[in-house]
């Protein structure tokens, strides 16, 4: 009997899943020993903060996972291991991951007209689902936040004319370009996807779908996702997770959509996320857009690996995935000026944590 047990364990361990560490209810923690490189990282990311003036780099949380284990974790200000944090536009990449599960279930095809799933888009029948993922709907959308509040479509969507039904507000915009040809980052496109998801999975499943499809399988038990008054998830802005839980989504992406031996996201979906949308590659100093993820394929972050992918949010929120270095990094923040640099942080992360031989 013990021989059989040993045999079955060794057979199981011939599969790659056994060689990998996966978080169960908790993460395994193997803190990296103090080093000059970690000191340099902390000197950059954690400076004394003054909440009255709100200047400089203001990191609330920094979490580094290597090979599926936490090697570094530090919190400041309102951050804490057991507390959720605003992710802002990281929500967009979370929606894409939720929709990847729906894609694997055959609920939609990328070439489908988005109007098939969201009737208010009827006057824009040529917008395909994939165009929304590329932020290429062609709708005449203005993404400015606090610097141009009068004409900002985002501010109007979240707080005034659009707040009751954000996707319908986005659909009411006119046309700037033919769909699928131009890149124009748009929170409206993301909320159109969130509204389309309702008809892809059905009214009954929709309110629980992010949990059923993604959060529960990954062991994420503290997620909050706010909706507008029509019940549509505010996919542009309003998902809240702990840093440790967001890192689970990063690990899923690092491992090509696989979670504990189960292909939760089709590999084709992760490939879609990782393929740069060509018209987005030439925006100065900005990473390229994959399908609702950011890609360093254009080396916009010169000190980070080209294969880096990221989910990024307002005021410094970031989830970075470095597949070749087998690193996942979560940074939560409250940066109110332009002093934080993704490249500067990633340069220090790679110096401190890239596994030897992992390049």
């Amino acid at each position: 009997m013990p021989r059989l047990l040993i045999l079955s364990i060794s057979l199981l361990c011939a599969l790659p899943v056994c060689a990998q560490n996966w978080p169960s209810e908790r993460w395994s923690q193997v803190p990296a020993p103090a080093s000059p490189a970690i000191a340099a990282l902390e000197q950059y990311a954690f400076v004394a903060r003054d909440d009255a003036v709100r200047e400089g780099v203001r990191t609330d949380a920094l979490l580094v996972v290597r090979d599926g284990e936490i090697v570094y974790e530090r919190y400041a200000g309102p951050g804490a291991a057991d507390r959720v944090h605003a992710t802002w536009s990281i929500s967009k990449s979370l929606l894409a991951t939720v929709m990847g599960v729906a894609y694997g279930e055959g609920r939609f095809a990328l070439q489908d007209a988005a109007a098939d799933y969201f009737q208010p888009l009827a006057q824009h029948r040529d917008i395909r689902v994939q165009d929304l993922f590329h932020w290429a709907s062609g709708l005449d959308w203005q993404e400015d936040y606090e610097y141009a509040p009068l004409n900002s479509s985002v501010v109007a969507m979240l707080y005034t004319r659009g707040q009751r039904d954000m996707a319908s507000y986005a659909a009411s915009h006119g046309r700037a370009y033919p769909p699928g040809e131009h890149f124009r980052y748009s929170s409206g496109d993301s909320n159109l996807l969130a509204a389309a998801l309702r008809n892809m999975v059905g009214l009954h499943e929709y309110p629980d779908y992010p949990w059923q499809a993604l959060f529960t399988p990954l062991g994420i038990d503290q997620a909050v996702w706010e909706t507008d008054a029509s019940g549509t998830f505010v996919a542009s802005s309003y998902a809240y997770l702990t840093a440790r839980d967001l890192a689970r989504v990063g690990l899923l992406m690092q491992r090509d959509g696989q979670w504990r031996g189960r292909q939760l996201l089709p590999q084709a979906w992760v490939a879609f996320n990782r393929t740069p949308f060509a018209p987005s590659e030439h925006v100065a100093r900005e990473p390229a857009a994959g399908a609702h993820w950011w890609l360093n394929s254009n080396m916009a972050w010169p000190h980070a690996p080209r294969s880096t992918m990221a989910a990024l949010g307002h005021w410094g929120q970031a989830l970075y995935v470095l597949p070749e270095q087998r690193l996942v990094v979560v940074r939560y923040a409250d940066d109110r000026d332009g002093s934080f640099s993704h490249d500067a942080l990633l340069q220090r992360i790679v110096a401190a944590f890239a596994a030897p031989g992992g390049q």
Binding site: A86, A156, T160, Q163, V224, E226, T227, Y238, Y240
Partner: protein, 109 residues
Amino acid sequence: MSTGKRAWAALGLLLSLAAATWLWHERTQLLAFPDILSAFSAKEYCSCRYVLQNSADYCQSYIKQYLPLSSLSEDAGQRRVLASGLGRSNTAAWVGPRQGCRLIPGSDG
């Protein structure tokens, strides 16, 4: 009227026409604009307090904008927040552990 005066009058008319055209063109944005401050403050303060569970002091500083609010009040029992500024008021409320906070339509006055 001298030629000089006539030119000034024409320029003045042109400028008022341009201003009127701009006001008409931007009318929906301009009418909605005063709501931004109180709606932003009510919604983000509500999430800061009842989703992120930060202190009232921290959240007041978190939502602070260049323009001051005239008032911000919360009913911690009901988890409702009323913010007023620029002559408008907006209410946000916590609706559940997974759904967090949202603006309450029709609460703007």
